[in-house]
Symmetry: C2
Subunit: 504 residues, 2 copies
């Protein structure tokens, strides 16, 4: 297979030369072969891991590796001009005449250049909460099939090319993880975290049509989007320095609006700072401000961390044994998946409010999307089943430890940074050079940036990153706080404890 791949790549190279002779062939081929070696090495990753594990911190699971390269070699590579040309809008255009078609490079050349670029970008990614490493090769063959989970996961439809049994297994797993009553849960595999939040907010509105949405200002934009779509009233609650909702401000708002039901969005890890809202304190606040169970709906946006928290020792419990109504989590984040996906879990009684019989499907419409990607369910299933609880637990532990390692490394270099409790998201001052931000694909907000430590982020890669950041800072200086109370100003707050560094 690897030799085939190499052959494919050299044909790409020769194709390129045919088109762009100015570009030296030997360089391209060497580049291509290096990348391919890395690619082929990955195919045997499971066996090769032993060699690499000595460089890793903690007791990583067999998957807690960066198969995509933590070597300087791959991280240093930039896109050759010939690849840039192959991936330009002009090259990938879809022709509408044979004259147009004749001018375009071959599909296989474009795909070769594209794959090389994906490898480079995958190797040098730190900013988004995506686990970019997974062993899913045995699922490739299923790309021959149009797997579509039409309708409801629990109600068979007439369309037979589905992965409903795998979807149900995944839903059942999360129901147990979050301690749902075996007789009172329902859920499905979503397209992404946004769909999960759109779904939770929809059920909330159907449950409490006049409910006011309460959520913190650091909430993911999809929650605000949902409220706008559904024409719901929203109370935006300010946050504490670390990104958690301001509980006292929440209490004040709840008291002020006591005549109307409340829809609470609880962030189990905010997008930028990884701050976990204290669910129990929010439930106590509801109770103390006079809201009865039937007056509120609680949705937990667990985008990244709802998958991690159950595996952290001595962490607060995220559980349907508490008076909550829905939890959502992404599948492509902690677990890793080639396509975005997620899980929405709720109580059965809520789903009945939106359920509609669709004769045409011979099923019921209970999800947002009628046609649903069956591959996502299959990939999540495969990942959960092959890793097992122990594998995921080891990955979570490795992420949290590597995040501490990153924070400490940055602090030691005098760079302002913080790490929330229960989080693998290291927040730091925004690097002054935007090219550096793009190079490492950091996510930024105003004057801060963050690195989300996922299972594929090794300490070796952290070392390369920190060294580059220090070098860049020497050359370009540092970002000053942009305004009073800017995220960077808050990052230096003494409230974070002893690890406040830089700007000191």
């Amino acid at each position: 297979m690897c030799s085939t791949a190499l052959r494919g790549l050299s044909s790409v190279a020769s194709g390129l030369v045919r088109r762009q002779s100015a570009w030296p062939l030997h360089l391209h081929v060497r580049n291509a072969i290096t990348l391919r070696r890395d690619f082929c090495a990955r195919a045997n990753a499971a066996h090769a891991l032993d060699d690499a594990s000595s460089e890793k911190l903690g007791s990583a699971s067999p998957w807690a590796t960066d198969g995509w390269g933590d070597s300087v070699e791959i991280i240093e590579q930039t896109m050759p001009d010939a690849h840039r040309a192959l991936l330009s809008n002009a090259s990938v255009a879809i022709p509408t005449s044979s004259a147009e078609a004749g001018e375009l490079p071959a599909v296989s050349d474009i795909l070769g250049a594209y794959e090389a670029q994906l490898q480079r970008r995958t190797a040098r990614h730190l900013g988004y909460p995506y686990n970019l490493d997974y062993q899913n090769r045995e699922l490739d063959r299923f790309m021959r099939y149009s797997i579509n989970n039409l309708g409801d996961p629990f109600v068979p439809s007439n369309y037979g090319v589905h992965s409903r049994q795998f979807e149900v297994a995944v839903v059942d797993f999360f129901a147990r993880l979050w301690r749902a009553d075996p007789n009172d849960y329902w859920g499905y595999v979503t397209t992404c975290g946004t769909e999960g939040n759109l779904y939770g907010m929809l059920l909330a509105r159907e449950t409490l049509p006049d409910g006011i949405v309460y959520t913190s200002s650091e909430t993911h934009y999809s929650v605000f989007k949902a409220a706008h779509y559904y024409r719901q009233e929203v109370e935006v609650i300010p946050t504490l320095f670390n990104g958690q909702i301001d509980y006292d401000a929440l209490a004040t708002a709840l008291r002020r609006n006591r005549g109307k039901p409340a829809i609470l969005n609880v962030n189990i890890g905010t997008t930028v700072k990884g701050a976990v809202d204290d669910l129990d304190r929010i439930l106590r606040t509801l109770s103390m401000t006079g809201y009865e169970r039937e007056d509120y709906y609680v949705h937990c946006d667990g985008a990244l961390f709802a998958m991690m928290m159950p595996f952290v020792e001595y962490a607060p419990e995220l559980s349907f044994q508490r008076p909550i109504d829905s939890i959502t989590v992404s599948g492509h984040k902690m677990l890793g998946c080639p396509m975005p996906c997620g899980i929405a879990l709720t109580r059965r009684s809520h789903v009945r409010k939106i359920e509609r019989r669709i004769d045409y499907l011979n099923s019921v419409d209970t999800t947002i999307m009628g046609s649903r990607n069956g591959h996502a369910a299959l990939h999540m299933w495969h990942s959960l089943r092959t890793k097992g609880l122990e594998g995921i637990k080891a990955e979570v532990a490795s992420c949290l430890k590597t995040a501490v390692y990153l924070r400490d490394s940055l602090s030691a270099e005098g760079i302002t940074c913080q790490l929330n409790d229960l989080s693998s998201t290291v927040i730091l001052e925004r690097p002054a050079d935007e090219r550096f931000v793009k190079r490492w694909q950091l996510a930024c907000e105003e004057d801060i940036a963050h690195v989300v430590v996922m299972p594929n982020v090794t300490t070796k890669k952290v070392d390369i990153f920190v060294a580059e950041l220090v070098a860049m800072t020497k050359q370009h200086g540092r970002t000053a706080p942009r305004r009073e109370n800017s995220p960077l100003t808050l990052l230096s707050s003494k409230a974070w404890g002893a690890h406040r560094a830089g700007h000191a």
Copy 2:
């Protein structure tokens, strides 16, 4: 590769025997090998087509074939009990302890049984508008990457592992197909047809917040769902016998509500009957009832047929040169794609109404889902680029011809059926035996069923289907119309013309 596959399959077989010795091994292995042969044959489908093409009607494109088997052999196969056991909820459950894990069959055994079942179900599918055959093998390797088109297709984000350039190429193609002004269109690759309709209806509401939604009673359920989500008022317009909107009833409703803006959903092929609403007549109706351009928004739900109509000779034109606002189409239907997907296309000014800058993405939020499946865009691109306009045109012609062949074959057997103009959806009396409906995965509504002729439906498969249907009818009888004006009653209407058959 095929020998590897065979080895994989025999290990499945031996795994099964280990677990379920009552089941005769030799039968299983033979079964598995037959299926695998079919699978391997598919790998060389492009070369093998010549042999089969003599059995096909019309000038099919090289893809207009059923690689999934139109032989009685594969169609006859039913799921062996051992496979049923491997695919049960108990077998695919995700264990939460090592004791539980020890009780479960191996992942590779489950996947082997699953693939065999997908092959059987793919070979015996006629009811949903999905082209189940596509040559996408060279894209398998991209399943190693988390391809996510965060944010807007036209605005780069900080996340580098994307397929944005392919998405833009696909959007550009549809913009040309539907004659959008090069300076005034915007679009994206959606998750499915439902997302496209949710999107069109959202833009409509943002354009005309008090607009009333007008759509026919035979509209896809996602349009009604959108109106419910967005808290929009809806006027459900009755249909003509063939499934088109009742234009006079529409005019009456428009006149009655003249004080309020109008949001029109136009069906470019209804779900059940494939009826194409007459767009020009609807536009004339708007004009004649006194609606100015700024008083209405027109969304065209082109789920299946918006991809076919531009390739049909002498068909009405679906074009942004007319006063329309959005068109959506599915990617997994006519084109074929392993996962559901689609295209939403609109005018740029509409998108600006919902656009929101998201610092965190370094892009703008303009779509419904923030995280979007980059593989879908890549697959659509690959399909369009490798087939080309001529390839698609040949497929469309083949579908329309084969649909006529199916209708004529059914009529000749005295079975009530109809085929709308501009459609490859053959509507027929609901088969009396539900097992037959399930076996062929027919979509039903009340007392009718339909077959959607897609490029993978060959005349040979049609012959097998008709023969089975006739045999089944002899045994189980026929479905009588369930009520006055039921869909089956309307199917016998003289208004359809000469091809009215059965119940005569």
